[in-house]
Subunit: 342 residues, 2 copies
């Protein structure tokens, strides 16, 4: 028996004992050390994805752990080896998969939503979803590899070059990770955020940061760039205001990367897209190379301030209250759940 | 003295004699054979660009003619040589120009709006705006080189490859020219249009065409492509409906080229942009290489059905009525004004 956190529906979590799933052919069972809480989990907690789940269900997908058991037809994973999970299960048959875009397969199963997730002591997943972790990387830090891979993917989709001027709209975990990856790529980054706690943290991390409710960010960026505008804008806020400012911030032939999940279609100034030949690029999840880059970045000593981003490590029993704390926009950034405590 | 058509403001055109402008240093005077009427001219006729003009003013910019006089500091243009005009005057000093995007200079002067245009017998323009025409190309057909260069630019921005499935939303002159250029590039093209006259013409030109008011174009394209979706969508309709369908039509990682001039910001499904990692690309006017490609295409015998696209050739005195006919959505496609009739 082991412990798992179940989403029961209607903003309820229960924690209880359950039988671990034995790894079938091609599977690996991972002893989960930490599982981070993602914005998607919050969305899911609010019942927005109940139609994709079988309640009660374990969710969570930002994990780090060690191999605890290996199914048949799996080689190369020693018991105890540190790993993280790229939680995507593509069909490999649809046009998107056949075109080489299996990460956004037309029938993609996201493990942790469409299938049970990582908020449990022992999680069994297909071996092809695993990435090995260097032993120098703590499992605590490694639980940020998944969101960091999102950021690596976003920055790669935006083709950020050294010396470029980048605006990141939205200073939650993904926005900050994008800012960090873009800075590592040599970009000058300004971040836009309205939450004071996040703004303060972003500034402490050495970023130029603007509260767009208090300061005209378009005027600021134009002044900073000598009227050129931003080379790349990352829209991570998911707000109507963000959708409006993104086309104003980008330079002629600038790139706008749409990272946020927009609940409803906002107005977008297509005239500006035309007039300045902007390029608007959607970016979703990640490809294996993004995990490779994320792991390398995470393991490079002192590169990324993970200690500052992880504001809490909670017990499984605290998951429900942590979700409420996150949604209230409190003084939290990334919250981890310790999944293998005895 | 020569004849010119002047826009007087408030949907009024006057035709009268005027003194030709002698070519200054770096200028060339062109005897205009034909000048096409563009959608922009219609917009301008309705007073939407009065703030950029000095009324009364000659407009028009889709021309073909022959060199009639050459200013100092100009070489390589013999009197009588057939030419067309790329009507862009960039500042060469703004960030966009310095970045190599002078065609969409931040202070671009569009000759024919910000400066006098081509609806006159003798038009003086900077020599750098000229493109030589092969003698095999009639001046009548050559007056379509400018809109054809727009289409070449759009197709190039969309990176259309041979074998790709392309949807063009909007079957006016630019939409049809995009369809023709994409077909020349080896694409399979379906065009969407609601005007029956245009639909009929498009079908007679051998294109698959859909009236989206009568048939579900998204379902049709999904069926035609085995659920893959369109590789490239050209949004030329400028309608809210077009802005809505474009994100539904494009495949995973598909490209959407925004060609239309949207008067107001429509709702755009940014969730689909994210979900399918769509790429939305603005495309405006043209670069010199687009004129080169357009001239080569126009001069290739039998390649493009210009005779079908030019539905009328009118006298200058008929310009005002031709503008009214165009705006009423009548049975017209491209209308030319003969500018050098005696």
């Amino acid at each position: 028996m082991m412990k798992a956190a179940f989403y029961e529906g209607q903003q309820k979590i229960s924690v209880g004992a359950c039988e671990p799933v034995a790894p079938g052919p091609g599977d690996v069972q991972v002893k989960i050390a930490f599982c981070g809480i993602c914005g998607t989990d919050l969305h899911l907690f609010h019942g927005k994805m109940d139609h994709r789940m079988h309640l009660p269900q374990v969710f969570g997908h930002e994990v780090a752990g060690t191999v605890s058991a290996v199914g048949s037809n799996v080689s190369g994973y020693a018991i105890g080896a540190p790993v993280t999970v790229r939680p995507l299960e593509p069909c490999l048959q649809c046009p998107a998969c056949l075109d080489g875009n299996s990460h956004i397969c037309q029938r993609l199963k996201f493990i942790g939503i469409d299938k049970p997730g990582g908020m449990q002591a022992l999680w069994t997943v297909p071996s092809y979803t695993l990435h090995r972790l260097p032993s120098s990387l703590s499992l605590r830090d490694a639980s940020l590899v998944e969101p960091l891979a999102v950021a690596c993917h976003d920055v790669r989709r935006g083709r950020v070059q050294s010396g470029e001027y980048v605006v990141v709209q939205g200073g939650g975990p993904i926005g900050i990770l994008i800012a960090l990856v873009a800075r590592e790529a040599g970009a000058k980054v300004v971040l836009s955020e309205i939450n004071p706690f996040r703004l303060k943290l972003v500034r402490e991390l050495g970023f130029d940061a603007i509260n767009p409710a208090e300061q005209d960010i378009v005027a600021y960026v134009n002044e900073q760039t000598g009227t050129r505008g931003a080379d790349v804008v990352f829209e991570v806020s998911g707000s109507a205001a963000g959708a409006q400012s993104m086309t104003k911030l980008a330079k002629v032939r600038g790139r706008i990367v749409v990272v946020a999940v927009f609940g409803e279609a906002p107005k977008v100034d297509l005239f500006q897209c035309f007039w300045r030949e902007l390029e608007l690029i959607g970016a979703r999840v990640y490809e294996p190379e993004d995990f490779d880059q994320a792991i390398a970045l995470a393991a490079a000593p002192g590169k990324l301030p993970f200690q500052r981003l992880i504001t809490d490590v909670c017990k499984m029993e605290e998951l429900e209250s942590a979700l409420h704390r996150l949604e209230s926009g409190g003084d939290v950034m990334k919250v981890l759940i310790a999944c293998s405590e005895e």
